[in-house]
């Protein structure tokens, strides 16, 4: 079964162009999130000192919490998601451009046709952004655990993460 993207976007709109920009947005968001690795690297090196040309763990040094290290590095995905609200609005008002095709869309027997064509691509993009952000969050969390020396790790990192992002 093949899915025609054109069936899920406003009739006649250049959806390839829209998809190109969404992909660029997601790529930039991913690249920006790599800043976490630089941040982690800085915090990691701050845990050590050099004694007699040997790197030694500073006594009592702690790695900041994961959420602190992560900071705003996933914000790109949030911005892409916000842009999708604007895209929904643009898709709706596209039906007023150069004609009033909104009249046709509003009198179709299928009441969901207009909604489907305005919302599907932005919604799919938001879901993609959420999934990518979640994947990167877990990936970075794994790196954080793998990199951080056990002695420097503060407890309850997992709980703190969910407390910050989900409020639980």
């Amino acid at each position: 079964m093949t899915v025609k993207i054109g069936d899920y976007t406003p009739m006649g709109i250049d959806y390839r162009q829209e998809m190109k920009w969404i992909c660029i947005g997601l790529c930039i968001s991913t690249l920006y999130s790599f800043g976490f690795l630089f941040s982690l690297s800085n915090y990691y090196h701050a845990l050590f000192t050099t004694i007699n040309q040997k790197r030694v763990l500073i006594k009592g040094a702690f790695m900041p919490d994961f959420v602190e290290v992560l900071g705003q590095h996933l914000i790109g995905f949030f911005i892409v998601s916000l842009c999708m609200i604007a895209l929904v609005i643009y898709h709706y008002f596209y039906h007023y451009q150069d004609s009033k095709s909104i009249y046709l869309m509003r009198r179709l027997p299928n009441r969901w046709a207009l909604l489907k064509r305005c919302v599907s691509l932005p919604l799919f993009s938001v879901l993609t952004a959420i999934l990518m952000a979640l994947f990167l969050l877990l990936f970075y969390f794994g790196i954080y655990f793998w990199v951080t020396p056990e002695a420097c790790m503060t407890p309850n990192q997992w709980h703190k993460l969910w407390h910050i992002y989900l409020g639980v």
Binding site: Y103, L104, L108
Partner: protein, 243 residues
């Protein structure tokens, strides 16, 4: 039968429609006449459910909803097609959404008006766009075809062709409600004239009755609208009067 019962529409205090009551049976070509802002477009938009209104509009006794909306089609001078799509793509879209789409009629009219099928509609001339808009409305397979000044911008030959086509292709079950300012032109094709003024239905006359009375549609319109024929002469003499 399309019944419009006591329909009123207000726009921020302005009454665009005042208790309009009409019955549109099947198989008629009905002209809807009135000056700009009289409420013709508002009435059509109320019928199609684009505007909220007071009163009742029913199609064979049922309110107009998604279940029966396909029985109404609409051609507007504002155009309701997708400018970036070709005629072929429109045909595919209509076939998908309107099971009663008249393919044979569509192909016939496209050929008759010599409209290209693989060219985006935005590249059409204004006249061609109007023709295509009307073709879509005629081919949707609707019982009631609402046309809101569909020939604005078409030349006289073009319009004449269309009137002939309209008379030739319509089936006895199809009703056309045609809003236009071109009274003299459509008088020959309509069976009934509805006059609307300041949101009120001020006249509803069959062309048969009109012929029996020995008057023309334009006479009736002038009477109904209390048109003062000396108005222009008076205005001109006032304007040119030397002080």
């Amino acid at each position: 039968m399309l019944e419009i019962n006591d329909v009123s529409k207000n726009y921020k205090g302005y009454r665009a429609l005042k208790q309009a009551t009409l019955t549109l049976p099947r198989g008629e070509i009905i002209g809807l006449f009135g000056e700009n802002g009289a409420g013709k477009t508002t009435l059509m938009k109320c019928i199609l459910g684009f505007l909220n209104y007071k009163g009742q509009i029913t199609l064979d006794g049922h309110p107009i909803s998604r279940k029966n909306i396909a029985r109404l089609s609409f051609a507007t001078c504002e155009h309701s097609f997708f400018p970036n799509l070709t005629a072929s793509a429109h045909k595919a879209f209509y076939e998908l959404h309107f099971p009663t789409f008249r393919e044979k009629r569509f192909n016939g009219l496209m050929t008759f008006f010599e409209l290209p099928t693989h060219k985006a509609i935005r590249h059409f001339s204004v006249g061609q766009k109007n023709q295509f808009e009307v073709i879509l409305a005629l081919c949707q397979g609707a019982d009631y075809i609402l046309m809101d000044e569909p020939f604005a911008g078409n030349d006289v030959f073009n319009r004449a062709d269309f009137y002939k086509v309209l008379l030739g292709i319509l089936e006895p079950t199809e009703t056309v409600l045609l809003s236009t300012h071109l009274l003299e032109e459509v008088e020959q094709i309509i069976g009934r004239a509805i006059l609307i003024r300041k949101g009120e239905i001020v006249g509803d006359i069959s062309i048969e009755a009109l012929e029996d009375s020995g008057k023309t549609l334009i006479d009736i319109v002038k009477e109904t609208y209390q048109y003062k024929s000396d108005r222009v002469v008076k205005a001109l003499s006032d304007l040119t009067d030397e002080r």
